[in-house]
Symmetry: C2
Subunit: 149 residues, 2 copies
């Protein structure tokens, strides 16, 4: 079978992800929230404080990626890092009131974009889409875990 971009799951997934990111960035811009801040925002929304390592795990990104994201969030006054007295290597990250105050807006934006993206799909197809993505992710995660890191 012909290998066209339209029939390559990887190419299509990358393409869709870039379109999601563009739209998200556009809609989040006024709030001062960048897309990469979102997993951190949601993880700490309940007022808890977590380590960088735990945040990286939840966002499914590598440690240096999370370090850079937290640096930008700190610059933008979205988080504060406090040295962990129990373990001097690590810091506990918590949201500032500024960030707390933006969570609802972010949730609305995310819902709106998901709604837009899926607007041509009936409820059953939406569930299917999410479920299929989940199954693809599980396979690729297993592969990723199998070789190193």
């Amino acid at each position: 079978m012909a290998l066209t971009r339209e029939s390559s799951a990887g190419y299509m997934t990358n393409w869709a992800a870039r379109l999601f990111a563009r739209e998200l960035e556009r809609q989040l811009a006024p709030s001062g929230i960048a897309p990469a801040y979102m997993p951190v925002l949601f993880a700490l929304a309940d007022g808890s404080a977590l380590t960088q390592k735990e945040l990286a795990r939840r966002a499914a990104v590598e440690q240096p990626t999370m370090a850079a994201t937290l640096n930008r969030m700190e610059r933008d006054a979205m988080i504060i890092r406090t040295r962990d007295p129990e373990d001097k290597r690590s810091a506990l990250v918590a949201l500032t009131p500024l960030a707390q105050g933006k969570i609802e807006t972010v949730e609305r934006v995310v819902s709106a974009i998901n709604e837009l993206a899926l607007e041509q799909l009936v409820p059953d197809e939406r569930r299917q889409f999410i479920a299929l993505l989940g199954r693809v992710i599980r396979v690729l995660e297993a592969q990723d875990g199998a070789l190193g890191n």
Copy 2:
């Protein structure tokens, strides 16, 4: 309804795309081909020469992104740019024999990764997955086109 990453189409799509990219990079590394080179490789595989603008359109990336990709490909001796005598603003891009010689390998790698990613899905589900991605892309592209550029 709860807004968890597992139920956000955007988050899941981004996650899947990153996993695809990691695996692709790993498997393409020995060949010296970076993932972003692929759309260029396939567009020029027949020996034709295209402008940067046309390559950007086919890869669905912005012009400066394609410019940077072509710079890296030139550095890696994958393409040659020849000034277009008809239009002194533009250059025609063609693959070098080095790049031509890698196309088959790249095709094999792409097929293998798509096969891996979809290995848990039956043929019908695979078609569904690609089709749903296509419909999501179409909606987001329309939105993107509607506001500027």
